[in-house]
Symmetry: C2
Subunit: 305 residues, 2 copies
Amino acid sequence: MPQEFAFINWLRSRTPADSRVLVGPGDDTAVLVPLTRPILVTVDMLMDGTDFHLSEVGPRAAGRKAMAVNLSDIAAMAGVPTATVVSVALPTPGGREFGEQLYAGIRDLADEFGVSVVGGDTNSWAGGLVISVTLLGEATERGVVRRSGAKPGDWVFVTGPLGGSILGHHLAFKPRVREALKLHEVTGLHAMIDVSDGLAADLNHILEESRCGGVLFETAVPVSPAAFELSRTSGKTPLEHALGDGEDFELVFTVSPADGAQLVRDQPVPGITLTKIGECVDAGLWLEENGQRRLLEPTGWEHRL
Amino acid sequence: MPQEFAFINWLRSRTPADSRVLVGPGDDTAVLVPLTRPILVTVDMLMDGTDFHLSEVGPRAAGRKAMAVNLSDIAAMAGVPTATVVSVALPTPGGREFGEQLYAGIRDLADEFGVSVVGGDTNSWAGGLVISVTLLGEATERGVVRRSGAKPGDWVFVTGPLGGSILGHHLAFKPRVREALKLHEVTGLHAMIDVSDGLAADLNHILEESRCGGVLFETAVPVSPAAFELSRTSGKTPLEHALGDGEDFELVFTVSPADGAQLVRDQPVPGITLTKIGECVDAGLWLEENGQRRLLEPTGWEHRL
């Protein structure tokens, strides 16, 4: 690769010793010791102008987001993130400082969540910044939580307020890895997803995979302050932002009514409020207001930037 | 992600049933069943204008190369490739047909080498084509072969002719996965690497990791017809092309003299000729001609396109 900088090696030299990583820099691939549990693999690619505006946010925030969205995918499966490989196409003018800032952003979250950076591919080119993060994880002893386990009658929960992420949350959010693991430990998760496309769209993913329907209670959906702020100029209501903006990276999950009632009562996850926002039904995606249901379009992401 | 096409799902629907893959399309991450052996992870990102000229080669060849270079990395460790996730940034004008051609190229090699495509992230943007392939593999029961095991006295081998890859081989080469596994089975591999940066540079990687030196026998290095063709107009000798061009994706490895003699005699790998091209020494990187040694610069890739 042209101008292959030593960023990955630099990065790895700063990674705490990890018994899962057998070989160090210099070999063709990373080698991980066998895991005894199912392995999770997820990848997300972020591009300048689509997922962030580099000129506004800088390389560190871009790197952080690239790691964060992948951690959120592992969280959505209630998995434990373990190791990552990172490939980047850096804009040529950036130079070494640019790459170090980018990786500092990746490392901010990798360190916090115990993820080892085990390899990568660093390139530069005349095009815009592209970051691809592949994140490996493992299931806990309770297995993984999929999208397909929701049942009619289930209660639908969300882990935090939604909407207006574009105003900053999409760069600063903390992936709900620990919250997912805590939930997996204390309750019987039927289905789970992270809100990336938008609440309506992502709940619809669960419903389609689970072959059931769902109703959202309009007044129950927690709407973020940013959604209100955005609605002042966007021509949309705060609720529309909460339903459709996406990139909230909160978790939406379903549990049995009995487990749901207990979650509402106990609020077992430190630092967040679990909010019941709906229920699963036989078919369709609905929004309920004052006891009236109307069909809800599973619209999600349209233009984030 | 914007314009998230269903290519990955389309692709997965064409992947043969694989007992290693637990969940299908629709979940946030792929889940693989536990492996009992060390896991290999490698990633390579390819960009239009750097690793290929899309307008000349088309998306299928670009996709094929993206998978091929990763397979070559697994081959260099004498590993068995198992599963892959693919992230792409497609140029917006391409449309669905473009993406399908790209993935057809990926699938051409994935199928041939028994690799399951278990996930991905498909984006489009106004920039150039970027393909990032993360390939997982597993070690055989004999473990992995690293770069660091060469010893003074070892014989250095290569699996095929070198140089001039830019004339076509870099797009059409067959990664030496089977050849590596066969070698691992029949001989005692001390160190191995695939020739991506160039013979001198990549042998130097082995030597640095192994903390020894090496000498290449000038007349023993197999020079490809393409190196001769290129030398007619390049101002370099065919040997210089063979030593420095890179992207040959042949394997360079070292074995004990006894094992080396047996390899030369038996030629145990179907379809290829194993050529002894040098020996490991205490220190330095040397080129030997008529019994005279001169220092060899570990120059590798400079400008491929």
